[in-house]
């Protein structure tokens, strides 16, 4: 009797549970991307007039990011030198990205937070980790939280494992990886997209070990990133190839666009860029194909109009969500506990070999070749 009644009631309970889980799945999809605000840290690290293109690179990303919705209060823009009002600029208060002065990326409404001598490795790391002196104004702080998606763009001159700041100091890839780990420990980001446009840019992201990081670089280790085109009236190269094609790609993106990261990885193939752009997604949880460009470059608020009531205070966790959470926590634990891999031994490069050859040649010229047998 008891079991009969249970069987009778069972379909009802099953149906109710289904409706219940259906409503909660809707809320799950409502907040599926995980971030609620967007920040951008755009840094140009080069000084002097002939590095005009690095400032133009940074300003073109600034322009795209502002156009797609991130406000000035959420952008930390660092320019190491002033090109627009430089006395050598034949058109003051402008920075062009296309030759024949087609596009002025400086514009009329620009707010530079760190400029000139303030762009140092120390200030950059302080902005990322949040360790700024108490009197620093809000516009110079990165006030992100654990639901922020941050875009970090660096450009300048770099090498294998380092990026040069203002021709006087460098930041190494290990320092950058440690800074991102500090950000992760303090939960200062939800997901982070790191783009770098320098020579041998891929070396800067090979040391990352914190979760939820995706990185793009304009060239592999051993390759140089090249500049795009000079403008004969201004007299300098205006942009770098990778950022030029990145700007062209971003000009097509609008706030409602569904373009995803796989399209971004295809920007500037080797036929256009001469160098091979690289990317790294192993630390990123989501599939890059499901990550929208506007998740990082824009500030898109998700608004869905609905007439149904959605219960947000339910204590029953639907099974699908809890499995997903479990996977997330496991993944994070795995990634966090990984030790940074040992640096491979590379044979000594040209300069050291040449120096030793010089020493040995001088020695053996003095004493004669017969002493070679004492060595071998």
């Amino acid at each position: 009797m008891y079991s009969l009644s249970l069987h009778f009631f069972y379909p009802w309970i099953y149906l109710k549970k289904r409706i219940f889980t259906f409503c909660t799945i809707e809320t799950g999809q409502f907040f599926s991307s995980g971030h609620t605000n967007n920040w951008a840290v755009l840094v140009c690290t080069s000084r002097f007039w002939f590095n005009y293109r690095h400032v133009a690179n940074t300003l073109s990303v600034y322009r795209s990011v502002k156009r797609l919705g991130i406000p000035d209060s959420h952008i930390v823009l660092m320019l190491a030198d002033d090109m627009a009002c430089n006395y050598r600029n034949p058109k003051p208060a402008t920075v062009f990205s296309h030759k024949n002065m087609e596009l002025n990326v400086y514009g009329d409404d620009v707010e530079v937070d760190y400029r000139g001598y303030e762009v140092t490795v120390e200030n950059f790391l302080r902005v990322l980790t949040g360790r700024l002196p108490p009197s620093t104004p809000r516009s110079k702080r990165l006030l992100s939280d654990d639901r922020s998606n941050i875009l970090i763009y660096l450009t300048g001159h770099g090498g294998n494992g380092f990026l040069k700041f203002q021709d006087s100091e460098e930041i190494s890839n290990m320092e950058l990886a440690d800074a991102f780990e500090q950000m992760w420990q303090k939960r200062r980001y939800n997901e982070l997209l790191f783009i770098i446009d320098t020579c041998q840019g891929a070396s800067m992201y090979e040391r990352f070990y914190s979760p939820n990081l995706m990185a793009l670089a304009s060239s592999q280790v051993g390759e140089d990133s090249l500049s795009h085109q000079p403008d004969l009236a201004i007299g300098v190269h205006l942009m770098d190839k990778y950022t030029f094609y990145l700007l062209e790609f971003l000009e097509e993106v609008h706030p409602a666009s569904q373009a995803n990261m796989n399209d971004l990885f295809k920007v500037c193939p080797q036929s256009q860029c001469v160098s091979t752009p690289g990317h790294r997604t192993d630390l990123f949880q989501r599939n890059p194909g499901s990550v929208l460009i506007t998740d990082f470059f824009g500030s898109v608020r998700k608004v869905e109009i609905t007439k149904d009531t959605i219960n947000l205070t339910s204590s029953v966790k639907p099974p699908i969500q809890s499995i997903a959470e479990h996977h997330v926590l496991q993944f994070v634990a795995d990634v966090s506990s990984q030790n940074p891999k040992q640096k491979d031994w590379h044979p000594p490069d040209g300069f050291i070999l040449g120096l030793w050859t010089l020493i040995l040649l001088v020695f053996f010229q003095t004493y004669g070749i017969k002493h070679l047998k004492h060595i071998f």
Partner: protein, 553 residues
């Protein structure tokens, strides 16, 4: 419920053609507010209408009595352009009078510079104790101020500071109408920065509302002075229009403004001067010791804009009337080499028969070590002893030199002030990333009450044009003038920063090769060696060794 305090906004543009063919445009935006930021015991100010909230909060948090900040690109050429309405030195200049209730002025100053660097997007956070001075006499309060204790005054300049659109953008956002309506629509950065001189400033001070000073009000003046060059922007013709200068015309006054006027200086060449559209409104004002006539265009009246609802001014003049400024100064570094040098400041008094005193203030960074015993002041090749000297020596890496002198200038003369200095060697971390550019020394400030040819009016009228009411006039026979000299660019002895690496490589190579050879010569002995035996004999010797039998030869 309290009635909100009364506030009022006025805007004005003055256009003055210069004799060299350049044109000088001066914008002034003034907000007057009947409130007190520094009142004790009453509720804090919380409702802002025309006065920008960011500045109001700064004033009340740091107990600021007066604040003057300016950003300038270019140098004002007094001999060619005359005197500006509001002078400013190249770079950034900030001077602040704090309220007498402040206990830690230095702490407030440091925080204030950081907050202002965020508001104006400038590197004002580089202002610290090594470039701040407390002038004793040169910078008296321009508004109401019974504070004569100069311990509450701080002055600093950053001669290297660049001004660009990123400083103009937040400055424009402080205006009540922004850059959407009124005179501020003319401020397009591409034209404003393509000029010989560009200066934007913010001046905040408390003033009296009436003659008897029964009520106080806070005044915020935002000024923008720009001089357009005859050749680069003017195409070589003495013909200017608003559209040519700013690439915009005016379409309406700011709706929040109680008065919005354009003044054009038509004193020079009344018959050789062409101005259109013509206006019957004329106004005379005594400014900078001279009586000038101005054509006035009132933008709050609809008929100014005419049929096309757009106002464009056209000026054409042919004459060449040179106005000679009475007070003029220049400064340069003399000497050779990277060890010593000499700073020369030359002050010219062009008045034909009147002598007057000037107050010269010099603030020199600590790395130029001044030898004050070599200070000489000569006028007409005779020693001229200053009647008041205030000197504060520098402390390495702590504070700069401050030298203030009151010098009497004889009529129609040139006075030269010279002082020798020695250049210091900085620690290698103190050099900027581009040390071969040089190090800047801020402009000298010369403040004086210059005798006026025309009687200045000391009457207090509310509807005086803004450009003539900036500096309070105390007496009729003289007017206050501040002249800034050029900043200096001095090279300090700079190490070659790539040398340590080169030196290490070369030294190590030399030491390795030299020591290795020397060691071998001393410790190696040479002996005749038998050629190694053939393989068969070696094998035989090996077997003999095993057997214990003596070896072959």
């Amino acid at each position: 419920c309290m009635t909100p305090a009364k506030d009022q906004f006025q805007e004005e543009l003055v256009i003055r053609p210069l004799h060299s063919g350049d044109i000088y445009a001066s914008f002034q935006f003034r907000t007057l507010w009947d409130t007190d930021f520094l009142q004790e015991g009453q509720k804090k100010v919380s409702h802002y209408r025309l006065f920008p909230k960011s500045l109001g909060q700064v004033l009340s948090k740091f107990s600021v009595q007066e604040l003057h900040i300016s950003f300038t690109q270019g140098f004002w050429r007094t001999m060619q352009w005359g005197q500006p309405f509001i002078p400013s030195p190249p770079g950034a200049e900030l001077w602040v009078w704090f309220h007498h209730t402040v206990s830690d002025v230095d702490g407030n100053w440091k925080e204030l510079t950081n907050v202002l660097s965020g508001i104006f997007c400038a590197s004002l956070n580089f202002i610290d104790m090594t470039n701040t001075v407390q002038p004793s006499a040169s910078f008296k309060p321009l508004g109401l101020g019974n504070a004569t204790d100069h311990r509450f005054l701080r002055y600093a300049t950053l001669p290297r500071e660049i001004v660009c659109t990123e400083n103009l953008t937040p400055w424009k956002k402080l205006l009540p109408c922004g850059s959407k309506a009124g005179l501020a629509v003319l401020m397009k950065s591409e034209k404003l920065f393509h000029s010989s001189f560009h200066s934007q400033a913010v001046h905040i001070r408390p003033i009296c509302q009436d003659e008897q000073c029964t009520s106080k009000a806070w005044e915020l003046r935002q000024t923008l002075n720009v001089v357009f060059d005859h050749y680069t922007s003017g195409q070589g013709k003495k013909e200017w229009s608003l559209f040519k200068m700013f690439s915009r015309t005016l379409t309406e006054a700011c709706p929040l403004a109680s008065s919005s006027k354009v003044y054009v200086d038509i004193t020079d060449n009344p018959e050789l001067f062409e101005l259109s559209p013509a206006t019957p409104l004329l106004s005379q004002a005594v400014v900078l010791g001279d009586r000038r006539t101005y054509s006035v265009y009132d933008l709050t009246r609809a008929e100014t804009f005419g049929q096309l609802r757009s106002f464009n001014l056209l000026l054409r003049w042919k004459g060449d009337n040179m106005l000679r400024p009475l007070l003029h100064a220049e400064r340069y570094v003399a000497g050779f080499g990277l060890q010593t040098g000499e700073i020369h400041t030359v002050i010219y008094n062009n008045h034909p028969y009147r002598a007057f005193p000037v107050l010269l203030m010099d603030s020199v960074p600590w790395y130029l070590q001044l030898y004050i015993h070599t200070l000489t002041v000569t006028s007409k090749s005779r020693d001229n002893k200053p009647s008041y000297i205030h000197y504060q020596p520098a402390k390495d890496r702590h504070r700069p030199h401050l030298l203030e002198m009151l010098i009497q200038l004889p009529p129609h003369s040139m006075t030269e002030v010279t002082v020798q200095f020695e250049r210091a060697l900085l620690k290698w971390t103190e050099y900027t990333p581009d040390p071969n550019h040089g190090f800047y020394v801020g402009s000298s400030v010369i403040s004086a009450l210059v005798p006026s040819m025309v009687a200045m009016s000391t009457n207090f009228t509310q509807d005086q044009p803004l450009f003539s009411s900036f500096v309070p006039v105390k007496e009729e026979s003289s007017y206050f003038v501040r002249v800034y000299t050029e900043p200096l660019l001095v090279n300090l002895p700079t190490p070659d920063f790539s040398m340590p690496y080169n030196v290490i490589c070369l030294t190590c190579t030399v030491v390795a090769v030299g020591y290795g050879s020397f060691y071998n010569l001393l410790t190696r002995t040479f002996q005749v060696d038998e050629p190694s035996p053939p393989l068969a004999k070696r094998l035989a010797n090996f077997i003999r060794r095993i057997r214990g039998v003596p070896l072959l030869a």
